[in-house]
Symmetry: C2
Subunit: 337 residues, 2 copies
DNA sequence: CTGTTAGCGCTTTCAT
DNA sequence: ATGAAAGCGCTAACAG
């Protein structure tokens, strides 16, 4: 059994109130008494019971992170930063993986509520996710990271400026001289997937990209879908000179498949990704992509959530931070020949 | 403010004790009363305050996972399974990343203790880690996963049979006809690194592997170290016909570097890894390796820890489970030419 | 079958 | 400067 305030108080010959005061650095304690108590605390290696404390303070100093899949390098990178920043501010992180299942998500939300988390970070929500929408309308602060809920629901969000990112990619490909640029979209159930497609369609004309419908394909999480998309594309009369995948995960698959088909990258065809997951920079891959500033965003997510918890940030004016994406040119893109 | 037992009790016209009984499925409540209460709970969407409950029950139903780096695919894979299995048993997971820093580790341990976690899983400990050793001797159950603390300290452990794994790899290379097999060891600060090297040295004779000292090189987490090792190896008069790296992370680097130097894999040189991280099976990599059963081990880790928490497993007889590793033959190994 | 009550370990008024 | 006491939301005797 661990020591309690009572133990420290009894052994120091004072009341628990006084011990509580010194633990919390409150004023109004005689210096000698304070030192005596501190000595005792050190001696016994006393540790506060945060749960008991929470009962009075209504603060658990824990934040709940809900992610679709921690195995996804994008999220594990974010989780690492979130955990670190949270800990620096004396918060601990509890995590849940939804595996993109709504029912799991709901279960996790409830479990976290029961644990009285001070705030939630979602790094996984789909567009129109009613569980999250309900939560957003509850009194506990919720911040969406990377993917948002769409227009209908007011919520706090830290993410990347997708329009800017698509523009950056198109500008790069266009300036290399590409006109027949294929696009493989991600799942449109997520804001990122939907927006990247939308902005591609919206911006391609500006950059002089060919508007042939066949150049747009739908990908997604299942490799098979991306695979089929690539097949379709490479079977076209006029094959694209560049393939732009809406995320690195798909881009990697594209890269592999195109190589398998005997094309050289980037000599015969350029491949462009999006996100800049760690693997993209791996020396045997070297994928050109858009860096969405994962860790920077994760850092801001924690900061903003804690401000919300502390009531520093106003809750009426939703947080909405869009980070500047950066173009990362590696060796999967080059001028068409 | 969320509802409490009092609210439900008042609104149902019963006492809090009765409500508590129905919530915990305790017998001795009139069916009608029970149903009335259940209705009220549903209607208000009442959720128990786990913290308050913990004060009485001395159980928080949370387990602390401490990992070196959640970004490492090995650990994120494990974390995913651990979170899932824990949740299935009504536990939540709180996580901490040490980044291999002892002081961070100590900080995390204390934070978790203050949160009254019911048990710890370490997936990151070094040999002779005094913080963990102390913790192991405290009353709260601690289970080491993947890496253990070495012989001096009795503790619960779930890992892989490293001797068997090395034997499997050597048998594979040997049966392909390799004799000049180089070995790049991992950091010996960890049980895995130390043991794999030890078993390689111990077993190579059995498999007819050349015992030239130059074939043993030291690698580690810094890419530069592995890089230098490969350079040394390929500068030898008799270059090895196969390079066996003590983990996939290094093997990937070896693969890249050897390819860069103009060798073909596996025609000119075979490369073998260890661990079978997800990336090893990536279609553009196809690394032959040893599968250490990450998820199976993670699953067992949770089960065993919970048994320990529940006092089902005896605490005097330490858990020590060594899973059977499996040989995974992909396309980075072939007979020497 | 149901209610009363005493804490779990802590913070925080309010007295002294 | 210090202590007594109430109470956070819950469980678990104990009484009735």
């Amino acid at each position: 059994m661990a020591y309690t305030l009572h133990d420290i108080a009894a052994l120091s010959g004072v009341s628990i109130a006084t011990v509580s005061r010194v633990i919390n650095g409150k004023p109004g304690v005689n210096t000698e008494t304070r030192e005596k108590i501190i000595r005792k605390i050190k001696e016994l290696d006393y540790q506060v019971n945060f749960n008991a404390k929470s009962m009075k303070t209504r603060r658990t100093n824990t934040i709940g992170l809900i992610t679709a899949d921690i195995t996804n390098p994008f999220y594990s990178e974010a989780a690492k930063t979130i955990e670190f920043q949270a800990r620096k501010q004396n918060y601990t992180l509890i995590v849940g993986n939804t595996g993109n299942s709504m029912s799991e998500e709901q279960t996790i939300i409830r479990a976290f509520q029961q644990r009285q988390v001070d705030g939630f970070i979602f790094a996984s929500s789909a567009l129109r996710d009613s569980a999250v929408e309900n939560l957003v309308n509850s009194p506990v602060p919720v911040l969406l990271y990377h993917r948002h809920l769409g227009g209908q629901c007011r919520h706090h969000f830290v993410g990347s400026d997708e329009r800017k990112g698509i523009a950056l990619a198109l500008e790069h490909l266009s300036s290399l001289g590409h006109r027949r640029v294929a696009f493989i979209s991600g799942s449109r159930k997520f804001s990122t997937g939907a927006e990247r497609l939308r902005f591609f369609l919206e911006l391609r004309r500006t950059y002089g990209i060919d508007e042939t419908p066949h150049l747009i394909q739908e990908g997604g999480y299942e490799i098979a879908k991306t695979s089929r998309a690539v097949e379709q594309l490479m079977r076209l009369q006029h094959t694209p000179t560049a393939i732009f995948a809406a995320n690195d995960f798909m881009a990697l698959q594209v890269l592999h498949q195109v190589l398998e088909l005997g094309y050289r990258v980037p000599e015969d065809i350029s491949v462009m990704g999006y996100d800049d997951i760690p693997l993209a920079s791996h020396n045997s891959i070297q994928l050109s992509t858009i860096d969405v500033q994962i860790t920077h965003g994760a850092h801001l997510a924690v900061m903003n959530l804690i401000n919300l918890i502390d009531g520093i940030a106003s809750d009426t004016q939703p947080v909405r931070m869009l980070l500047e994406p950066k173009l990362v040119i590696r060796s999967s893109t080059a001028p068409p020949t």
